[in-house]
């Protein structure tokens, strides 16, 4: 038995039998996105572009921009946090799916949904630490951002990146050291959301306020806080989150 070269372990093994293309193997890509919150103006163009590109039903969003107003007048700031599926390298949703309806594609690292397989059990929605998943009421399956799969597979950029007015979104291949995103990641201080969970997200942020995700006020008035949160649940068809009321 041939010994495996330790240096090659990080690479995806080339499988000549995979039959994809004339060369016999796919070039390994690592699609990633960099969100520069310094440039984000909170215009929601990406939200709208995503919704129309992916035909997301009314009341549901694959990606959005969370907006927070902080402080009291005159020291007030409007802060934004672009939210989308973080395309984790160790995705909690893929871990829990009972039918492999959501998998991380080996060739480019994108976490994709197979809608025909999905049984709609909701486990992935419960397990996502970023609340990026939801039930699509038309398809009746789980749904999420997939970096606009049909676009990136055809050499286009995701719809949100194309729509961004201020160039705050950079999309590219981190496996290619000469790509714009690789150079930006090498030269800028970036963070990922909830790094402590070890999900290894591939959506990077520049100057993101991490207190903007999840709960925003850490008061002891939990009841008020949660009532406020529930009041903001926007989906028109969703009644059962009211828990039997």
């Amino acid at each position: 038995m041939a010994e495996t070269n330790k240096l090659d372990q990080g690479k995806v093994p080339e499988d000549p039998a995979s039959g994809n293309g004339a060369s016999g193997s796919l070039p390994t890509k690592r699609w990633a996105m960099l969100v520069d919150q310094r440039l984000c103006i909170g215009c929601h163009s990406c939200t709208i572009a995503c919704k129309s590109e992916n035909n997301v039903p009314l009341g549901y969003w694959r990606s959005w921009v969370k907006g927070i107003q902080k402080g009291t007048f005159p020291g007030v700031g409007n802060l934004y946090l672009r939210r989308l599926c973080n395309q984790c390298d160790t995705p909690p949703c893929v871990q829990v799916c009972p039918v492999q309806a959501t998998v991380r594609r080996e060739e480019d690292g994108v976490v994709v949904m197979y809608y025909g397989k999905c049984i709609g059990c909701g486990m992935c929605i419960a397990a996502c630490p970023y609340d990026a998943r939801f039930f699509n009421p038309v398809r009746n399956t789980a749904d999420k951002c997939d970096f606009c799969l049909s676009r990136i597979d055809n050499g286009l950029k995701p719809a949100c990146v194309e729509a961004c007015v201020s160039g705050a979104l950079i999309f590219g291949d981190t496996a290619d050291p000469s790509s714009e995103i690789s150079q930006k990641l090498a030269s800028t201080a970036t963070t990922v959301l909830k790094a402590e969970l070890g999900t290894k997200p591939k959506v990077y942020y520049v100057e993101a306020d991490h207190s903007l995700q999840g709960r925003i006020s850490f008061s002891d008035r939990f009841e008020d806080e949660i009532l406020e949160y529930r009041r903001h649940i926007p989906s028109p068809a969703a009644e059962y989150w009211k828990r039997g009321e």
Binding site: K66, I68, I125, N140, T141, Y240
Partner: protein, 296 residues
Amino acid sequence: MEAAVLYNVPHEIPWKVYIPLYFYFTGLSAGSFILSTLSTVFGIKRFKPMALPAAIISFVLLMLAPACLILDLHQPTRFWHTLVPEYFNRTSALSYGSWLLTIYPIANLVYIYFIYVKYDRVTKILGTFTVPLAIFVHAYTGFAFALVRARAWWHSALMPGYFLTSALLSGIALLVVVALVMDRYQKNKLDPELYTSLRLMMVGILLVDLFWSGSFWLTLLVSTADGYASIMLAFHEKLYIWGEYVAGMLLPLVILILPWTRTRKAWLCFASLLIIGGVFLMRYSVVFIGFDVPLS
């Protein structure tokens, strides 16, 4: 600092009340089954009259449990996808669970048949193989929660153990009620010692459950911000404190311990009913308090 949300998209809770109901039914089923094997496998003769009723109750509840799961699916007609070997996900507790939920009722049915025809040796062998199945079928539901790192309320190593002990507790409580009803309408009365054993088992498991809860609370109180928020939220829920703990655990514990209530059958029945309700509230709070801390 003052902060107000200008815009956000929280997604609704993906599960309905069927999910805690499902955990409740599998728990009751596993608990009753283990009680049934006490005489057939472990040879404790005192529980002999309970073996068949317990096994039958266990089987009936096992029919209800997957029905609840399928009702909660958004694509109910695709439930069989979980049993396609090619789709099996070895990191998913639910994948193992769906196989267990298929094999266990069949094993249970065969076991019931052999108790019915009083073929004790075969019953013992079958029971021995089915007990681990019964344990796993309920423990996996605990793992389904414990393996979700996103939610501090679920991501606890105590979950599978807590689910198992409370399953046993609810199973015993249900059997006590069934035994009391049987006793009332049957000619040959049950051994009073049987009730003492069942009562002592309930007291023991209630104490274990309270120990789990105490460990759970303490670790969450010094946990991450989300963990602390979940436990504080739970303490604000009246159903959690007054329903699950006071009415579902402490009150039955007092009834089962006090000398002037523990010997009375009416009190025993009342305490068992409280426990049956309390275990359902435990499933309910585990599932839904987990969703109370917003992640978006």
